[in-house]
Amino acid sequence: MTAEATNLSAAPMAAAGPRNRPGRGQQIRGYLRRNPSLGIGVAMIAGLILFSLIGSLFVDERMARPLSAPPSQPPTAAHPFGSDSQGRDLFAVLVYGTWLTVRLGLVAGAIGVLIGGALGFISAYFGGWTDRIINFVTDVLLTVPALLILVIVASAIKEGLTPTTMALIIAALAWRRPARQIRAQVLVMRGAGYVNTARISGAGPFEIIFCELVPNLLPFLVASFVTAVSAAVLASIGLEAMGLGPKNAPTLGMTIYYMMNFSAFLLKLWWWIVPPIAALVILFVGLYLINTGLDELSNPRLRRRA
């Protein structure tokens, strides 16, 4: 967002050369000053996770289950966020639900980037038929609307769905975009001088991938991870809002589903409606800000464009 405007200050720093290179802490501080959205985003996500961690010290997980509080209570001292119409304590729901949803995103995002990254590297590095087959599979799966596959799979195993299986279902499709993006990046880097040097000096393909390519792609991988986390949370909330999520877990998406299904709007239970939406908005905006903040890191060309 503001990357372009503040980039002028970046140029002399980059040109300073190795002799009087600023220290690591100073570098990070400089980066954060140029990309304030990264800091804000990290603070938002950290705030959510902290809320969830600290909250879990004060409230029992069982309070997030139905019948643990009197139903449809507005916020009181005993139940600071009130309770829903089936008697879940909404403070407990938010504390445990936030963590469940964030964890799902992290797990699915990590799996997505690992598998997608591996496929992307293999595909770009080996080329030929390997590349063609991997590419074809990715193509096909990108054509099929992901949400629909997820809807069908989730409905097929609706009974006994847990937050962990949910994360795995979503991870099963989370690798498609990273695979495509990482492949494109590796294709560009494959011809770089240092890769050729390594090859001539007798390094094997896996050595080149792990010692030469991966470290250089790290910023890009981090950015792709953030995108994958965001996409995974998006998909999970979508599924859960349709009622295809884990019925017995108080995730944020399930809370949205219950809220819609039990007509919280008609019953005028605002304390049931506002917190989960607010938590999700903070989560999505936070991830988005981190992503834009990482732009410069993963795409150094942005730094020069001013």
Binding site: M1, V140, T143, L147, V151, M242, L244, I277, V281, R305
Partner: protein, 334 residues
């Protein structure tokens, strides 16, 4: 050379659609639920006990839909159906044809989504173009980042926020539905006005959530165009700023936006599913969700196949048109 490229793309389209359709066939079969049993259970629950001969119905329906035959036979006849665009009958609401169900739901979905997408596209593109052109306007420089942050929030959440403030607190709009229960569907002004009133919130949620995406794309293109030689030339010729903006900058920057729009349209219906659920809007999403609930194979197959086809064909058209428009991609494709 272009002909070979076209042929290759068509073969690719065929393979992609067949593979995607096969996935579509096998995934619902992973469930241990039986759609016919679901239907019959529902029937017997809603009628007098003992009045439904379950065993007989089960046999009749299994035979009617070929569910008693081996899986590979069912698969082959399914692929045959899809290739001839025969979408078969719905199991749950037999004897309604799936094609008829889609035909009834599609206008709602398309009407809402196409209108909302076009509005978002226009607003976003204008906004994106103006931020680059009018760097001095503070209002614009603040609006665009805000609009972009909105694009990070999924539209169904924006929808819920809108329902909360405008329908629930202010009471200006209905909380959901496609039209009021009291109004009678028909081509009269009263009904049309009612439908419009019901569509404002869902449409706004889509517009708010996607303006940023269009603005970002247009901004990127405008920045690139501004550095081009013909812009300097136009300035040297002494053209008015307005003319330069419209005829030179926007005209050249808008092409990728329009291709994006074409791609977006292919995926519209998928995006509609959740909006329809949040707003209880009658359309493809609602039909699909109900079909998934009862595991109505043929309705699921039909709707998903239409979606796959829409996405694949819009991608094909883009791939075929691109080399004609942009010589650089033409060189690459050979």
């Amino acid at each position: 050379m272009y002909l070979i490229y076209v042929l290759r793309r068509f073969v690719m389209l065929f393979l992609v659609v067949i593979t995607a359709a096969s996935l579509n066939f096998f995934v619902p079969r992973m469930s241990d639920k039986n759609p016919v049993l679901e239907k019959i259970t529902e029937m017997s629950e809603s009628s007098a006990p003992g009045s439904v001969d379950m065993q007989n119905l089960l046999t009749v329906f299994n035979e009617r839909f070929g569910l008693d035959r081996p899986l590979w036979e069912q698969y082959l006849s399914y692929i045959g159906d899809m290739l001839t665009l025969d979408l078969n009958y719905s199991i749950t609401s037999y004897p309604t044809r799936v094609a008829d169900m889609i035909a009834q739901a599609l206008p709602w979905t398309l009407g809402l989504m196409v209108t909302a997408t076009l509005i978002a596209f226009l607003l976003g593109t204008v906004l994106g173009a103006l931020t680059v052109w009018r760097k001095d306007s503070r209002l614009l420089q603040i609006t665009v980042p805000v609009v972009m942050v909105f694009s990070a929030i999924p539209f169904y959440l924006i929808g819920l926020v809108l329902i909360y403030f405008l329908a629930y607190r202010a009471g200006w709009f209905p909380i959901g539905g496609g039209y009021s229960i009291t109004s009678f569907p028909g081509w009269n002004w009263e009904f049309i006005a009612d439908v419009m009133r019901h569509s404002i919130l869902p449409a706004s949620s889509i517009v708010i959530a996607s303006i940023g995406i269009w603005a970002l794309g247009m901004r990127g293109m405008m920045v690139t165009v501004q550095g081009e030689d013909y812009m300097n030339f136009a300035e040297a010729k002494g053209l008015t700023s307005r003319r330069m903006f419209l005829r030179y900058a926007v005209r050249n920057a808008i092409l990728p936006q329009i291709t994006q729009l074409a791609l977006f349209m292919g995926q519209l219906v998928t995006g509609a599913v959740l909006v329809e659920i949040v707003f209880g809007y009658p359309g493809m999403g609602s039909v699909l969700l109900q079909a998934v609930d009862y595991l109505d194979y043929y309705t699921i197959y039909g709707i998903v196949f239409v979606l796959i086809l829409a996405v694949a064909v819009s991608m094909l058209i883009l791939d075929l048109v691109y080399p004609l428009l942009d010589p650089r991609t033409r060189a690459q494709s050979h």
